[in-house]
Symmetry: none
Subunit: 205 residues, 4 copies
DNA sequence: CATGAATGAGCATTCATTCAT
DNA sequence: TATGAATGAATGCTCATTCAT
């Protein structure tokens, strides 16, 4: 392995080291309690070093968000690759998103962070990056719907619109998890979520 | 009017004065730019006085959130009172929520703030308050659905669950507004939103 | 003494405490080594307290500058009040400025700071404040010149212009003090300065 | 061309490359926004490389300052070479300095930076370098005055002293440019400057 | 020669909150 | 009731410089 390659690898390593620290922090103290100095301390690096690898805090957040979306995407992709009916795929996708949010509170928080932050907040360049990574998710859902239409499982439909409805709805519903003991009263959040998946799928038929 | 009553009224007055200032600030500088000192200056009161009437910043935010929800509720209520078919009611409710978000970016931001902040964030007491105010919204939707079922416009249905699906979905979809030029690509957000309303209503039939 | 008066006095006191700290720091470590945190530590106050009394670092600098100019002005005023010929007054003013720079290296540095900082640097409001304080100096010189003209000591002259030439020249010359051992070579700076005063005065006759 | 010479030339080249970057930065973002890292990036060189050619930021600044002074000097020299009366020369020199400050705000700022920084600031060695480059300016003026004396245009005079008065005055007056709308009130800065040149010249006669 | 990763002190400023009066 | 002075930890970020490779 040449010097250059080793250098590149080390650079990658450091970046991961920083991202690891940030992710840990995110997980343990919530998104509002991450600061660059804390990340540095956690990563056992000088604060300057952090800035050497990431231009700003935003950039770290975005890297994390993209990690999260990539992880979610890979889960959904696995489902998409299965040889099963499209309606079943949608069902599994819905559940998979739920599971993802449960398993990765950290990534969920950060995706949420981007989805819910006021409109103009990130520099356009970064925003586009984030958005595009999100687009992969809805695109995948769209494909599933298209497939279902081809298979005559679903009615003819604007698959692109439905994909956004589907993902947007599930995202919105996830937020209600925190109302389990108040608004939701007697119902469990999980039940409502499952019900919603079915309802949405049925609306395609 | 007795002393006690006058006292109570004055208290109410002061509280409103503070809330007015906070609301103005929220509107003019965004949710991230509100500080207690700024509120005090705006309200032309001492900072100590603010803390006399609200014991924390959270409390002020919650009061504002409740205002927002109340405003939204009153809009929805107006619709509910109309003598129209339940499906039309749902349609109008959906649109009304959209309009509300457009008209009251300030309240939208603050409702969003509560809906999207990490799970354990507020003292339980305050949280309950917030949640309950939100419950009124879903309860109203539930009523509309029940009515529709009675009228045989909708199929028999778990109205409570549907209400949450309906409101959760629309809320989730609203967040995608900011992707109008990226994820949504060729579609307008408004179209997708309208499409979603119809889809959801249809799923009841 | 009422409460209000005591309060006002205490406020004044604190402000002076802060300004004292800043002035000391300025004197001991030069203008580039003053930071708000250092001022706070020196003043034995919390950093927040500093910001309670002064909106920004600029404001402290400006307060200091105005102190300095006021001090210089008072020295010049004393001269102006004397019952002596105007040419002698100018001579004393020139020397007085020199002495002032020697005695108050700290104030000299800060006046210099304002005089030599790039054009657009301060918020207009603050800039005006500073400028106006400076104007008093040139206005006083102008008066002296006018008086000299009336007394027929000086030729008829645009006193306003000359005042600026006079003060500007002396200011510029002061900067050359630091070249005493290099550019100035065999001459002493003081000699050149004295020579310049005389030359400028003579040019009025 | 031997190896050694080529080496020397390459060195010169690199230095210029760095200086170019620094100059550009100086011009485009002002003296307070230059950092070694920025210079490196601009010059498309490693930061280490910069430090190989200049051992500190000061050294770069000094190189730039000397460039500036050299440029000013060359302008003045052109005037000095003309076959015109010495008084006219002084007039043109004065105007030329004014024009130089207007044309080269960047160099003006950096010359100013050296002229106005607190006394002991640079390592003696560097300071001497800077000072000497400045000396050339006053020496040239001195020559002009000497010539004028020889030509009997000017009275017998200590030309060295006058040169410093002349240049110091004009430098000081330039600083007042920024007060055009405040202290200077109704007068234009340019008028005052012109007036001053004349006054200074007349004082020689 | 040339590189660029690493440092960490330092910066100006903000802010929710407390508490003596 | 009402005030507002005081706090100090915390924030994101910059920068000149070093040094191992």
């Amino acid at each position: 392995m040449g010097t250059r390659e080793r250098r590149a690898m080390e650079k990658q390593l450091r970046q991961n080291q920083i991202l690891d620290a940030a992710r840990n922090l995110l997980f343990s103290s919530g998104i509002d309690n991450i600061s660059m100095n804390k990340i540095a301390k956690h990563a056992e690096l000088g604060i300057g070093t952090i800035y050497f690898y990431f231009k700003s805090k935003h950039e770290i957040f975005i890297a994390l968000q993209m990690e999260g979306v990539a992880l979610l995407y890979s889960r959904l992709e696995t489902i998409h690759k299965k040889k099963i009916r499209s309606d079943e795929k949608l069902r599994l996708i819905g559940r998979s998103f739920y599971q993802f949010c449960e398993d990765h509170n950290d990534y969920y928080d950060i995706i949420n962070y981007f989805l819910s932050s006021p409109k103009i907040f990130f520099e356009p360049e970064l925003k586009t990056k984030v958005d595009m990574s999100g687009k992969k998710i809805t695109a995948l859902i769209e494909e599933v719907v298209c497939q279902g239409i081809k298979e005559n499982i679903f009615e003819k439909e604007d698959a692109g619109k439905f994909a956004i409805l589907f993902f947007g709805s599930l995202y919105g519903l996830m937020q209600f998890k925190k109302f389990e003991n108040t608004i939701l009263a007697s119902q469990t959040h999980k039940d409502i979520y499952e019900y919603s998946i079915e309802k949405l799928i049925k609306s395609l038929k």
